[in-house]
């Protein structure tokens, strides 16, 4: 119990300190761009009303979820194919490096041409940025599979699907998870960016609307909300990670004990 309390204290110590600094540093600020934190927190509840949460925040989060899931599917799929074969890897590498270096915000106008301005475009923007860390980490994970286990699978003539599920993906999963974690934070950024152009609802759209309407406290409250969403999503991600990698964490703990 005390250890849980201590962990909570450690978790909140820095955020609370920083908020306190922000609070006192901005108190009495007359700069219209930097309203006092007190004012930002004051407008927070009325700004993020139930209507806004269901009409703007929820659609954004759904697009993020769909985009992230799409990136996982495509990224892991492509990563396994590329990682399994040296020839494919050599072929794909230059293209991967080229595509990876293109910033997704620069692609927004092109996606608008191809996919219109609705949900499809926004999801494509999210996928186009999220997919790269997943692909590259999956490739590395698949490449780094234990050669002895790989040989063993082959010797026992283990079926392709079973081998893929129980060996290839399993042994690559720590790296896939690392890639997915990077992709998640990219996804949050792109969720906002995809709504800053040609949108009619969403969290990024709302923040932009506050900006052009010179409602700076409301705009900052949106930025705060984004940060909070980031914290919650990373906590959720940690829960999922502990599920997926339970064998891996167990293995590492066992290795530490035996050493």
């Amino acid at each position: 119990m005390t250890s849980a309390l201590r962990r909570a204290a450690v978790f909140f110590a820095l955020p609370i300190t920083l908020l306190a600094i922000w609070w006192f540093a901005s108190a009495g600020s007359t700069d219209f761009l930097m309203p006092p934190l007190a004012k930002i927190l004051e407008v927070f509840p009325e700004t993020w009303s139930r209507h806004r949460l269901t009409h703007d925040v929820a659609p954004s989060l759904i697009r993020l979820a769909v985009g992230f899931a799409g990136a996982l599917l495509i990224g892991i799929g492509a990563g396994v194919v590329i990682g399994s074969s040296r020839v494919v890897r050599l072929f794909a590498e230059p293209v991967l490096e080229f595509l990876r270096a293109i910033p997704p915000p620069a692609l927004v106008p092109i996606f608008i041409l191809v996919a219109g301005i609705d949900n499809v475009m926004k999801v494509l923007v999210i996928i186009s940025g999220c997919v790269w860390p997943i692909v590259l980490n999956t490739v590395e994970g698949v490449r780094g599979a234990d050669p002895v286990l790989a040989e063993t699978c082959r010797s026992y003539r283990i079926g392709e699907m079973l081998r893929l599920r129980m060996f290839v993906l399993r042994s690559a999963s720590p790296q896939i998870v690392t890639g997915a974690r990077q992709a998640l934070s990219i996804g949050i950024i792109l969720m906002v960016i995809s709504e800053m152009k040609a949108a009619s609802e969403g969290l990024g759209f709302t923040i932009r609307e506050f900006q052009t309407g010179y409602q700076f406290p409301q705009m900052w409250s949106g930025v705060l909300l984004l940060g909070l969403i980031g914290v919650v999503l990373s906590l959720l991600f940690r829960v999922a990670e502990n599920r997926v990698l339970v064998w891996y964490h167990g293995q590492r703990a066992a290795a530490r004990v035996s050493r």
Binding site: L14, L18, I112, G116, I117, A198, G213, V223
Partner: protein, 317 residues
Amino acid sequence: MIRRFTAVLAGAAMLLSAAACGAKETPPSTPGTPDKVTAGVVAIVDVAPIYLGKQKGFFTEQNIDLTLQTAQGGAAVVPAVAAGTYQFGFSNSISVLVAHTNGVPIKAIASGNGTTGNATADFSGLVVKDPAITSPKALVGKKVATNTLKNIVDTSIKELVKRDGGDPAAVSLVELAFPDMVGALDTNKVDAIFVVEPFLSAAKAKGWKVIGSFAALDPAMCVALYVTSQALAQSNPDLVARFTTAMKKSLAYAESHPDEVRAILGSYTQIAENVRQGMTLPKWPADINRASLDKLADLIVANGLTSKKPDVAAVVS
């Protein structure tokens, strides 16, 4: 936690940079040397007078060395003027009134441009492609493109729908840059667009129908204003007065020399020669039309852009 930390850190960084910006002041004028000023404008037809005035030497006459810098939209110019990045700037009247009401320290010092007085031949237009849409009311439930949210275009679209008996809240407004609008309507990504010249000419050339305009709301609408920061107006009222004098002369000159306006447009826009010759020019009244601003202030409150009515007298005084 990391992300939260980054967010706050970014906030702190912005605080510092904003403080640094706020500290930027224009040095007081020294007799004999011209005042170097920068004005933030949007590269559209509306600002032709300031380009023309600069070329004709109206600003040099007033001992002002003027540099023009183009920004994406008028909504972005206003904070830059307030922070001292630009000494003067051009923005649409609604953005100016809303900014002032929300505490952005700016004031209007000259008229920008106005409507033509003819609702069916304005330099602006709400354009539809679908022949089934015959009036703004039919845009309820449809997607309409505005160049910026919560500015004069956005507000005019809502007001046109409202006056026609439709529910403006049921119109889905999409932010698109003016140059992208004709293409977006052509490919049916939106159902209507609100454009100004020269894009209006391009839209009309496609055979599309104009179902509204700024002029339909107010034949003598004051569409835009030139602004400065309250800090500069206080620290160097002489410079501001000289700028206003030069601006008024430029506006009057542009109003009476449309051919020179059409010619100078080629210097700061990509508008083709034949389009420049054919398009409708706005009016450039030399003085700020307060009656029109009062009407816009009413629209601002009616459309919920601000909770209290903008104080027009305080903005233009």
